[in-house]
C-alpha cells in the first residue's frame, strides 16, 4: 500500500500517486466500501486520452454503479488488467493492487485536489 499521506485525493473519491509525469489513479478504500463488492470495472484503453473532470471508466458493485472521473488530462499509459479480470481486488486493496490506470500528465494539469487531511475531513473521518 502506498503512503496515504503522499497521495492526492479528489472529492469523487479517487486517489492519485504522482511520480514525475506519471499519475497512478485508483478509488479510495472509503469509496470501495461505500460501493460494496465491486463486480465489474471498465477502464479506458491504453493509448487513449482522458480529460480532467470527465468520466473515463465505470465501477459497478452488486448494488450500484460508480463512475471513474479523470482527475487530470493525459494519455493512458497502462490499465490494471488484473482488476478488470478480478474486480474484487478493488475492495481487498484499494490503495495498492486495486489501482486502476496510469496516466502521463503534465504536472501542472493536476487541478484542485485534496491532501490526506482534507480528504479525511471530507469523509467525516470515516476512511
Amino acid at each position: 500500500m502506498a503512503d496515504l499521506t503522499t497521495l492526492h485525493y479528489t472529492a469523487e473519491h479517487e486517489w492519485i500517486a504522482v511520480d514525475g509525469d506519471v499519475a497512478t489513479i485508483g478509488i479510495t478504500d472509503y469509496a470501495a466500501q461505500q460501493l460494496g463488492d465491486v463486480v465489474f470495472v471498465e477502464l479506458p484503453s491504453p493509448g487513449s486520452t482522458v480529460t480532467a473532470g470527465q468520466v473515463c471508466g465505470e465501477i459497478e458493485s452488486t448494488k450500484s454503479v460508480g463512475e471513474l472521473y479523470a482527475p487530470a488530462s493525459g494519455e493512458v499509459l497502462e490499465v490494471n488488467d488484473d482488476v478488470v479480470a478480478d474486480p474484487s481486488v478493488v475492495n481487498a486493496d484499494a490503495f495498492g493492487a486495486g489501482w486502476l490506470i496510469k496516466l502521463r500528465i503534465d504536472g501542472a494539469s493536476l487541478g484542485d485536489t485534496l491532501d490526506r487531511a482534507g480528504y479525511v475531513a471530507l469523509t467525516g473521518g470515516d476512511v
Partner: protein, 376 residues
Amino acid sequence: MTGPRYTPLRDRHEALGAAFTDFGGWMMPVRYSSDLAEHHAVRRAAGLFDISHMAEFAVEGADADVFLDYALAGRVSAMAVGKAKYSLVLAESGGIVDDVIVYRLGEHRYLVIANAGNREAVAGALTERVADFRGADAVRDVSVADVSDAFALIAVQGPAARGILEALDDIADLDRPLTDLPYYAAAQGRFGQWPLLVARTGYTGEDGFELLVPAEAAGDLWDGLLAAGSPHGLVPAGLAARDTLRLEAGMPLYGHELSLDVVPAQAGLGRVVAADKQDFVGRSGLGAVVAGDAPVLVGLIGEGRRAGRAGYEVFDGDRRVGEITSGALSPTLGHPIAMAYVAPPAAEPGTTLTIDVRGTRLPVTVTALPFYRRAH
C-alpha cells in the same frame, strides 16, 4: 419529519460493524462484511436478517375474516388457523398499495405484515376500510391495531435454517414441531419467557423462518440465533444481500416492481386476487385495465458482467418497449439479471431485446421468473 429510525437491534448491528443505509425512513444494516459473502452464505448455509422495520397490524374480532376478505385482494377467510398467505392491499383503482403477508393466528385473530415504507399507507387503508365495513351503526365486530413498534422480526434464511432453529434451546412450547411446519405456515410458542411466532416464510428463495417476538426480546433472540447458528455457517446479512437474493428469486419489491400504477396481473400476481369474491376494495378498478395492452413484468438475462439497473430502458430494435425495475449481476448465476415491465408483444420468453446501459446497447433475453429456484 422525525429523524431516522432504528430497530431494537441497532446496538447489535453497530457491534458487528454494519454499514447502515436509509430504507423507508429506517437506518438499516446494508452489509456487515461483504454483499457477496452474505448472499452466498444464504444460498449455501444461512443468513440472519433484521427485518424489524416491517410493519405489523393486528386484526381481530368475530368479523375479522369477512373484513380481510373485503380489505385485501385474496380470500383470507379460506385459510386455516396457523397458515400464512401472500396478499395485496389494492387501491380502488386496482393499483397496489402494498404487498403483505397475512397470518391466521386464531379463529378470529390475524396478523398483517406490511412493508416498512408503506406503514402509513396500509394503516390508513385498513382504518378507512374498517369504518366502511362496519357501517354507520358499527354492527360488525372487527378492530385493527398498528402493533409495529411492539414487535421485532428476525429472519433466518438458508438451507441450514431449520437445523439452526432446532439448536436454539430457548424455543419452547411450539404448538407444532418445526419439522412438520410447511412452507407458509406458522407455529406459536415461547422464546424464553416471551411469546414467539415462527413462520416458515421468507424473501430469499431459500427455506427459512421469520421469527416475531416482543421488541424487548429482540436482542436475546438475535444473540441466541447467532450463537446457535455460527457452527452451521450462519452470518448476519444486510439489505444488499437481501436485494440480490430476492431478485434472483423473482420476488417483487414495492417501489420497484409494485406500485399504485400497477395492477396485480401486470406484476404476474393475478393468482393472488380472488376475483370470484363478492366484493373487495379494488375490484371495480381491476376490470378497467385493458388486458393485453398494459406492460407486464418479465425477467431479462444478459451476458458478461455489466448489469442493467432500475430505470434503464428496454428496446425491441429501435422501439422502446419498456423499463427495468430491478437489476444486478446475479451472484449465484454469474450473469446479469433484471426484472422489467415490457409491452406484451415483447414479453414472450426467448425474445431477444436490448437494454440501454448508459449509452451502450446490450442484448438480453426474456425469461420466465424466477431466475433461481432452490433444489428440493
